[in-house]
Every structure is written in C-alpha cells, then in structure tokens.
C-alpha cells in the first residue's frame, strides 16, 4: 500500500486539532504534525485555509480539508476501520446533533463564564449549567456519548474532559461536580483513561499558564468593562 501523505496542522494546545488526531489514531492512520504559531501563521496554512485561516487543517495527499467536524466525517468516510460514527441513520443524526450542540451552545456558554467575572459571570453560570445538564441526560445508560465505545460525539465533546477542568482551576470555580453531574464525571474519567486520548493531552501545567493568561487578558487588571 503506497504511503499516503496525511498531515495535521495544529497548535500545541488547541482542542480542535486534537479531535482530528484522535480520529486518526483510533483508526491507526500514520500522520505528521505541522505545528502552527497562530500569532504568526505560516504561508502554507493561509494557502490551505484562506477563508478561516485556522487550525485544524487535514492535508490528505495534497488536498486540504478544514473545520474539525467536517474533517472527522471525512476521516470516517475515507478510512473505514474502527468507525467513529454509528451505522444507524438515527444514531448518526444524534451524534451530529451532539457535536453541533457542543460547539454552538456549550462551548460559548462555558467560554462566557470563563471570560467574565462578578455579576456578569454569575449570570453566565446558569446557562452553562443547563448545557451540562443536557449532556448529563445524554449519558443515561451509556458509558460514552457514542454508547459502549467512544466515538464521534465523545471526540467532539472531549474538550469538556480537558480544557474545562483547566478553566475551572484557573477561575477557582467548579461547574462539573460529582454531585451535580455524576455521569459526566464518570465519562471524563473514562475518556481520560482511554489510551489514544491520554497520550495526546497537552501538558496540564502549560495549559494552566496559558488559560490563566487568557483569563487575565479578559478580566484581569483592566477591570470590569
């Protein structure tokens, strides 16, 4: 089998390229990383992703695919081993729905809590908890969002197991508690122990520094706007 070119444009910390990497690892696809510094984007990145200028980009035999969720579907359709999307059309629709919910509702809700303080933050917490409650509901009777094994929805939601914990530590505010969300906590534990996932987590100490700086930039010495 001829060696295929599979490159992933990523940064050391962003959770979105990690989704792509996990999918490739789960399928045993050899790939290379191209690390980007987003404050100084490479000409290649700008060529491959002229509209959004973001990571991740997957380059497969010279052709770029962008947007993490689009890339995940591409990976699943191109390499058939260890499918990450379920086979049943309804289950597929649910997985896609969960992915959309993650990025369109959960992430912005959590981000709002992370980038505010005082009254603004207080008001942001309830909607974020609502989102987490929805996720909790989806885990009833299941080990993973995908069912018995981890799949597409888990890969997309994995930022909750990774980035969210870091944000909580930086803010000294815990939203995902055992009391409130026992199933979500169990899922975080299971995901963190999955071999493909835990070998590629970015170093936590570096993440803490980064997110600390991010939060300071938003709410730090500048004070409330």
């Amino acid at each position: 089998m001829a060696k295929e070119e599979v490159k992933v444009f990523r940064t050391w910390s962003s959770p979105f390229p990690l989704r792509v990497i996990w999918a490739l690892k789960l399928k045993g696809i050899e790939h290379e990383y191209c690390y980007e510094d987003l404050s100084n984007k490479s000409p290649l990145l700008l060529e491959y992703n002229p509209i959004h200028k973001k990571v991740p980009v997957l380059v497969h035999n010279g052709r770029p695919i962008v947007e993490s969720i689009v890339i995940l579907e591409y990976i699943d359709e191109t390499w058939k081993e260890n499918p990450i999307l379920p086979e049943d059309p309804y289950d597929r629709a649910m997985a896609r729905f969960m992915a959309k919910f993650s990025d369109e509702k959960c992430l912005p809700a959590v981000w709002l809590v992370f980038t505010t303080q005082g009254k603004e933050q207080e008001e942001a917490i309830a909607p974020a908890l609502e989102c987490l409650k929805t996720l909790e509901g989806w885990l009833v009777g299941k080990k993973y969002f995908n069912g018995e094994t981890l799949g597409f929805a888990d890969i997309v939601l994995a930022w909750i197991a990774n980035v969210l914990g870091v944000c909580e530590e930086v803010m000294a505010l815990k939203m995902v508690t055992e009391e409130r969300f026992p199933l979500l906590c169990a899922w975080i534990e299971n995901l963190s122990n999955a071999p493909v996932i835990n070998t590629t987590w970015p170093p936590r100490d570096k993440l803490l520094v980064k997110y600390h700086a991010l939060r300071e930039a938003r709410v730090g010495s500048v004070g409330p706007k």
Binding site: I71, E77, Y90, A93, R96, F97, F101, K105
Partner: protein, 240 residues
C-alpha cells in the same frame, strides 16, 4: 418507510431544506404547520434543546437542525437519489460550504426583531435593509457582494461545469444555499439592490433559476410576494 412528519412553517428557509430533501427522495410526509406563538407542545417535546423548527419526526423519533435533518434523510432513504456526493473529498467540500453559509446567518441572530425561527436572512441582507445613510448602505452592499462572490467561486469549483453545486442534480450544498432564494428575491424587491447580479455572479444567477425550477423545489419555494407581505406583517419597517 414509516410515518414521517415535518414540523415547520412555510416562510422558513430552514424548513424548506427539509422539504426539498424529502421531495428529492419522493418521501411521503405530513407537513405540520407549527403555531410558533405559542410554541406547540409537540415542538417543545421533540426539540427541548433548541425549541426550533424544523423538526423531522420519523416513526415519532425527532431529528432536529436543518442540515442534520437533510443528512438524515439521505441516510435513511438510501434508495432515492443521493443528496451528498459519493466522493469523501467532495462531501467534505459540500459540508464546509454548508457550514460557512450557516455561520454567516447565525452571527446576527440577536439582530432579528421577529421570531428568529422564521426569519433568518443573511445578516448582510438585513444590514442593507437597515442601513442608515448612503455610506452605510454602500458598505453593506459591498459585504453582500463579496460573500456571494465567494459562493460564486465555490460554485465554479464544486459544479465542475454542471448545473448544480452537486453536479447534474440538486444536492446538499444546493439545498443549503437555495433555501434562501425566496428571501433573497424578496429582499431584492424591497430594497432595490441586486444581489444575484448577472454582472458579478453570473453562474449563481443561472444556478438560482435552475434550482427554483426543479421539481423538488418549485412547489414548496415560497412566493416572493407572499414573503414580502409576511415580512411586512412581522417586522417594523426600517426608519427612513
């Protein structure tokens, strides 16, 4: 194929996406006109997360979010014509542009005065209608033209010389963009601005005509005059 219900409203471009997809598969379905104000019990139960239309109920199981519904229809009716291209790379390109189109709309959701379920124009189209003063209007028009020029380029690449984004027949990306044609025409008529301008986007103009004439579309695409009347009743007119 089981019982199929589509919960929606006739002016909604998102609901239209689902209808076109069902028509492409020649699927029988019951169209349930959603009351919206107040939202029906059925809607609240079947889409508790977003409480929005469209909702597809297939054997009473709900599928929500228009593009997810379209892909579901493609998966669940495998014998009809394919809505997504067969090649994974072409599928990725179609999904990319569909996501791009939806992103452009979602950004300005908070700008909408009426029920955001029903009226979701391209934000730039709204900006034109609301632009105060000539300078703002010119800027807004420039923005729309540049967005559509991007889509014109996308059309040239995706269609590979054929009639639709998807090739010889309507597919995912045609549906994703084409659903807005009724509202685009209504906006053009109301504001006098030519958005689908044969001078700037000639391929899209041709595509739009073919799309609206397609048998899966023409019976369900809302009429321009009806949309204008609907918008008049729903919106405050922009202050002069």
């Amino acid at each position: 194929m089981g019982e199929v219900k589509l919960l929606g409203a006739w002016p909604s471009p998102f609901v239209l996406r689902a209808r076109i997809a069902l028509n492409l598969k020649s699927a029988d379905y019951e169209f349930v006109q959603e009351t919206m104000n107040p939202k029906s019990q059925l809607l609240l139960e079947s889409n508790p997360v977003y409480k929005k239309i469209p909702v597809l109920l297939h054997n009473q199981r709900p599928v929500c979010e228009s593009m997810i519904i379209v892909q579901y229809i493609d998966d669940a009716w495998p014998t009809g014509p394919s809505i997504l291209p067969s090649d994974p790379y072409d599928r990725a390109i179609a999904r990319f542009w569909a996501a791009y189109i939806d992103d452009k709309i979602r950004l300005h959701r908070s700008d909408l005065v009426a029920d955001p379920n029903l009226i979701r124009l391209f934000p730039s189209l709204q900006t034109i209608a609301r632009a105060q003063g000539e300078e703002a209007r010119v800027e807004a028009i420039k923005q729309v033209i540049s967005e559509f020029q991007l889509l014109e380029e996308a059309f040239e690449k995706c269609s590979k010389g054929k009639s639709f984004f998807s090739g010889d027949s309507i597919g995912l990306l045609d549906i994703a963009l084409g659903c807005f044609l009724g509202w685009i025409k209504a906006t053009e008529k109301k504001t006098g601005v030519k958005i689908l301008d044969p001078e700037t986007v000639p391929h899209l103009v041709g595509w739009a005509e073919r799309f609206c004439a397609d048998s899966a579309v023409k019976e369900v695409m809302p009429e321009t005059e009806k949309l204008i009347a609907f918008a008049k009743a729903k919106f405050q007119p922009p202050s002069k």
